[in-house]
């Protein structure tokens, strides 16, 4: 039986892993390669490296970092944050990443999803979406709106219709980040996650809000339907090991790789 996945996200800024609350007040935590290798040893199922300043600075991803991760980490990892075009995707995948993640680029130019899926396979393309709760309206029937630039810019796009569109275009997976829950440590936004997981047939990674190991189990329960739970501060700052997180999930009778 396919296991639910625990994914650790490493936000990278100027070559250092960083962690902030609601994309603000960042502080440096360490070297991405050695932190990734440590989580690999702890038994994490997947890693995400997100270059949080590449887009804003208009530069590509640090390929040397990707290659160094691939030399030490023998599980799938995805890279996002600075993907500008197909060539960037190709370089990241050839350097040893399993997947690439696109977020605001896909909002600006949705065809990057279909082009990427065609060139490298659907399973390589992860759509990252940042979502804000705005209340249901005629133009935003789900009550959730897609936002970009770390939540600073609204797009007018409904979260559910964007998720469906991304699946049609060939995205292999959706990483769903709740801006409201991010950094609050009160748990993942379950209503949002369940709504998106039901709207698409591709895997959904829940992101934003984990404050205790039980929160991962909550979002991975069949009634919510996330396929993976993403954490950052739980492991980076609060000191939980991947094993402790998985034990809490397994205790709920949910299959994980121990």
């Amino acid at each position: 039986m396919l296991a639910k996945r625990v994914i650790v996200c490493l936000d990278v800024r100027n070559g250092q892993v960083t962690k902030g609350v609601k994309f603000k007040e960042n502080r440096d935590l360490g070297d991405p390669v050695s932190m990734g290798a440590e989580y690999y040893r702890q038994g994490v199922d997947e890693l995400v490296f997100y270059d949080i300043t590449a887009s804003a600075e208009g530069r590509g991803i640090d390929i040397e970092m990707v290659r160094n991760v691939a030399r030490e980490v023998f599980i799938p990892f995805s890279v996002g944050g600075g993907i500008r075009n197909l060539q960037d995707m190709r370089e990241v995948l050839l350097a040893g990443a399993e997947k690439v993640s696109v977020n605001s680029l896909a909002v600006r130019d949705p065809s990057i999803i279909s082009h990427g899926a065609k060139a490298f396979g659907n399973q390589c393309i992860v759509l990252g979406m940042d979502v804000l709760k705005v209340g249901a309206s005629e133009s935003l029937p789900s009550g959730y709106e897609v936002v970009v630039k770390g939540g600073r810019e609204r797009t007018g796009i409904d979260a559910v219709s964007w998720a469906r569109r991304a699946e049609e275009l060939g995205a292999g997976e959706i990483c769903l980040n709740s801006i409201d829950a991010d950094g609050m440590k009160t748990g993942y936004e379950l209503d949002l996650t369940s709504m998106i997981a039901r709207a698409v047939t591709i895997p959904v990674i829940a992101s934003g809000g984990a404050g205790r190991p039980e929160h991962l189990a909550d979002v991975l329960e069949p009634r919510i339907g996330a396929d993976a739970a993403l954490v950052a501060s739980l492991t980076h700052i609060d000191g939980y090991t991947v094993g402790a997180l998985k034990a809490a999930i397994a205790q709920r009778g949910i299959a994980v790789r121990i």
Binding site: L2, F74, L94, G96, G121, N122, G172, R198, I202, P203
Partner: protein, 213 residues
């Protein structure tokens, strides 16, 4: 004159070539990345990676003249490890891309997961993530790995060998139990990505590099 490498890693444009190469290096297996049929023929053992679609992969292999070399390697008794598409292509035929004739080194077909008869929510396709593999017998490439260990899969099609004795390991997804490791004589092949399956995957690569069938 070419120097015969101890391990040839076959380069036919497969997307996981780098990852397999890094994994082999990590476990101390020196290898040559090559698309030269003569180098593949003369190698002490051959690793045949793969990711993507069977049709395009077979075309690339045929264009590079590697298909013949792989058949000769298999016949000569050289240890050969196929990974993912490199596993599927060892069989006779794949249902992918409207039907693709493959290498025919192991009898059987490659079939598509079809869960349309199951109630919703149906298992997702591709089958992607960590799934346990039950070992059906002992084999040198599985030494030190417990049956039921998890490996990393990404695929929409699965091998269906016609001889039950060619199945070394199997896994379940949805209502389907499929062959996730195949082995016969000097051939061994994994549907999962050994290069992305953590310590157990690395163990398979290391064991393969020492295996004398």
């Amino acid at each position: 004159m070419t120097i015969a490498p101890s391990v040839a890693l076959v380069d036919y444009g497969a997307g996981n070539l780098t990852s397999v190469s890094l994994a082999l290096s990590h476990v101390g297996v020196s290898h040559a990345i090559t698309r030269d049929p003569d180098v593949i023929r003369s190698a002490g053992r051959v690793v045949f990676p793969g990711v993507g679609a069977a049709g395009a992969s077979m075309r690339n292999i045929q264009e590079a003249g590697i298909d013949q070399a792989l058949r000769e390697v298999a016949r000569a008794g050289t240890p050969l490890l196929g990974i993912c598409i490199g596993c599927q292509i060892l069989l006779d035929r794949s249902q992918e891309d409207g039907g693709t004739d493959c290498l025919g080194l192991l009898p059987g077909e490659v079939e598509r997961f079809d869960f349309s008869a199951l109630p919703e929510p149906r298992p997702k396709i591709p089958h992607m993530g960590w799934n346990p593999v039950s070992f059906l017998r002992e084999h040198p490439v599985l030494e030190g790995i417990p049956s039921g260990a998890f490996f990393y899969f990404v695929h929409s099609f699965y091998p269906a060998p016609s001889r039950q004795e060619d199945v070394l390991g199997r896994s379940s997804y949805g209502d389907r139990t499929f062959a996730s490791i195949l082995a016969r004589d000097n051939l061994v092949a994994t549907q999962f990505h050994a290069e992305k399956s953590g310590v157990h995957g690395l163990e398979i690569l290391k064991n393969f590099s020492r295996w004398s069938p």
